[in-house]
Every structure is written in structure tokens, then in C-alpha cells.
């Protein structure tokens, strides 16, 4: 068995190149462990981002052997081919330095898609009762575990073709709120996600579903938005 891993890591910003490092192979090792090893032992100038290391914060995503992944929960054994690993920054976002990308555009689109909960004036009303088995609640449930990692956004070809496209994560978030009976901004949100920078542009080719580490289904959420916007448009409520 090999005892070392040949790791090519992207260095630089938009312009840059892959630099090779040799990293000792361990029995149990994540891709994030590899990057951390390089930064601690081989080149302290390497920039990358992480926080929780347990798949909760969504900050550690990178492109590993061509595929967007959360690196803290990706085991080297599962993804290395012939003891080789290529680690690059996420696609569809501007590279700040090395493996860190600028996620501003990604999160701005959450805001543009109406990603903020808009409470109704309920201080005089009683608590909203949301039946756990109601259709809306179950549809919201299917999407709320998003950790905002940007993997789906990097996987989506449409984002690279149409820079204005809101992307799978923002639309998935909007769909959870459309299904939130306490929310008071349904009409505005549907208007925000309609059109050729929004849900109607989605090709349903499901790269987002394929790679979402939380196994969410943004494509299905987007299909829900398509139905909801059409319904609203026909009723003249869009």
C-alpha cells in the first residue's frame, strides 16, 4: 500500500497554477486534513476556509478531483484515484486566493431570491400552528437542512452560462419560505424568483442534486417554484 499521497493544489487567484505536494497517507483522513497538513507542515502561506470540521457550517467546500465537495466530510480513501488528489477552489465564484473563493455573489442571490423570512404582524395573534404532517410543512422540511456550502452553486452549469441566475441554493431557500405558512411575503418572493434569472431558467439536469452533501433536492424545490409562480401568474397575483 502507498504511504504517500500526491496532491496538486491550486495556488494563486483567478490566474494561478497547480502546485504538487506529497502528504503522508493515513488510515482515516479527510480532504480537509490533507489541506491542513499542507498548510501546517509544508507551506504556511496556503489559504483555505473551514470552521466546524463536522459538516455543519458549510465553509470548507472545494473542488476535489473535479467534483465540488465538502472537504471536512470527504474521506480521501473514497475520492483519491491512484493516490492522487487534485484540490481546486469552487467553480462559479471568484477566487480570492488559493482555495478561498468570494461567496458574496452567492449569498447576495439568497437575498435577491427573498431568502429572508418576512414575519406577518402576528404580535396580536396567537402562535401559528403548523401541522407537522401538512403538505407545506413536509415540503419545507425537505429543504431546510441546507448548510450554505455552495457545492450546488459550483456544480450548476447554468450559473456559469448565466451570471444572473439565482442558483439552486437560493431558490431552494425561497421554496422553503413559500411553504412557510407564517411568512408574509409570498407574492414578492414569487415575483423575485420568476423569470430567466430565476426558477424558469433551470434546466432540471440535477447536478445540484447529485453533489449536495446534505442530499437535498434543489431541482424539485425549483420545480415547486415553477408551479407556484405559474399559479400566481394565472391568478394575476404575480
Amino acid at each position: 500500500m502507498n504511504t504517500a499521497l500526491d496532491v496538486a493544489v491550486w495556488r494563486g487567484a483567478e490566474q494561478g497554477r497547480f502546485v504538487s505536494y506529497v502528504v503522508p497517507l493515513r488510515e482515516n483522513q479527510t480532504v480537509l486534513d490533507i489541506v491542513t497538513y499542507i498548510q501546517r507542515h509544508l507551506d504556511s502561506t496556503l489559504s483555505y476556509r473551514f470552521s466546524c470540521r463536522v459538516g455543519m457550517c458549510g465553509s470548507c467546500a472545494m473542488t476535489v478531483n473535479g467534483v465540488p465537495r465538502w472537504t471536512c466530510r470527504t474521506h480521501v480513501r473514497r475520492v483519491a484515484t491512484n493516490s492522487r488528489l487534485e484540490i481546486a477552489p469552487l467553480r462559479n465564484m471568484k477566487v480570492v486566493k488559493d482555495l478561498s473563493v468570494d461567496m458574496t455573489g452567492f449569498f447576495d442571490k439568497w437575498a435577491r431570491a427573498g431568502g429572508a423570512f418576512a414575519p406577518q404582524k402576528t404580535h396580536s395573534k396567537d402562535f401559528a400552528v403548523v401541522q407537522p404532517d401538512s403538505r407545506a410543512r413536509r415540503q419545507a422540511d425537505a429543504g431546510i437542512e441546507c448548510i450554505g456550502c455552495g457545492v450546488c452553486y459550483a456544480a450548476c452549469d447554468l450559473v456559469s452560462w448565466n451570471a444572473d441566475y439565482l442558483g439552486p441554493a437560493a431558490l431552494n431557500r425561497a421554496w422553503t419560505l413559500v411553504n412557510d405558512v407564517r411568512d408574509g411575503a409570498r407574492a414578492q418572493r414569487l415575483a423575485a424568483v420568476a423569470g430567466d434569472a430565476g426558477c424558469h431558467a433551470c434546466h432540471s439536469h440535477q447536478s445540484c442534486v447529485q453533489w449536495c452533501p446534505m442530499e437535498l433536492n434543489p431541482t424539485s424545490a425549483i420545480a415547486g417554484l415553477k408551479r407556484a409562480t405559474v399559479g400566481a401568474a394565472l391568478k394575476g397575483a404575480l
Partner: protein, 116 residues
């Protein structure tokens, strides 16, 4: 373009796709039939001319294609070229009109064949 217009255009594309799915099957079936039965052009024309049913069928078929194709083309061009906005809209509307005119002309030509 407003969210409402975009949404209705999307709906128009889906609805026209449904019509096309049906029309293309009928169209292909008649082609296969004509080939198998060994019908020549004169025989085909003989069956179509003056037949209002076929005129309506091909009229609807052409309308669906003239709605569906430009909308699809609009998306493809927007995603693969720098074309956007009003210029793109004018281009694809012109393309749709061309499809409609050529298609209806052909369908009506068969219907009215030899009548003048």
C-alpha cells in the same frame, strides 16, 4: 420583462411542447403510413386538399412550433452568446413569425392545392 410575462412565456413553452408531443407523433405516423402504403406526392395531395381536418391539424402544429422554437432559441442564445434584452427578443419574434408564415403557407397551400 416582468416576472409575470416571463412566467407566462415559460408556460407557453410548456403548453406548446405538449401540443408538439402529440402533433409530432401524428405527423410521424402519417409519414410512416405514406411510405409503407407507397403513396406518391399526387396521392398525398389528393388526400389533403380540401380536407379541413388536416388544415386545422397542421395549422395548430405550426402554431405550436412557432411558439415553442423561438422561446427555446431565446434561452439557448442568451446562455451561449452575449445577445440579451430587446435585440434578442426582436430576433426570436422575427424567427417565430417566419416559422408561422412559412408553415401556414405550406399547410394552406396543400389544402387549397389546384383550386386556383
Amino acid at each position: 420583462m416582468t416576472a409575470r410575462t416571463e412566467t407566462l412565456l415559460w408556460l407557453a413553452q410548456r403548453a406548446s411542447a405538449a401540443v408538439l408531443a402529440f402533433a409530432v407523433v401524428v405527423h410521424l405516423a402519417t409519414i410512416v403510413y405514406a411510405v409503407r402504403a407507397g403513396l406518391n406526392a399526387a396521392e398525398i395531395i389528393a388526400r389533403l386538399q380540401g380536407h379541413a381536418g388536416w388544415l386545422v391539424f397542421y395549422g395548430v402544429f405550426v402554431a405550436a412550433a412557432a411558439v415553442h422554437a423561438p422561446l427555446g432559441l431565446r434561452t439557448v442564445l442568451a446562455e451561449t452568446t452575449p445577445l440579451r434584452g430587446a435585440l434578442l427578443d426582436i430576433l426570436v419574434v422575427a424567427f417565430g413569425l417566419m416559422l408561422a408564415i412559412l408553415g401556414w403557407r405550406a399547410a394552406f397551400g396543400l389544402f387549397a392545392f389546384g383550386s386556383d
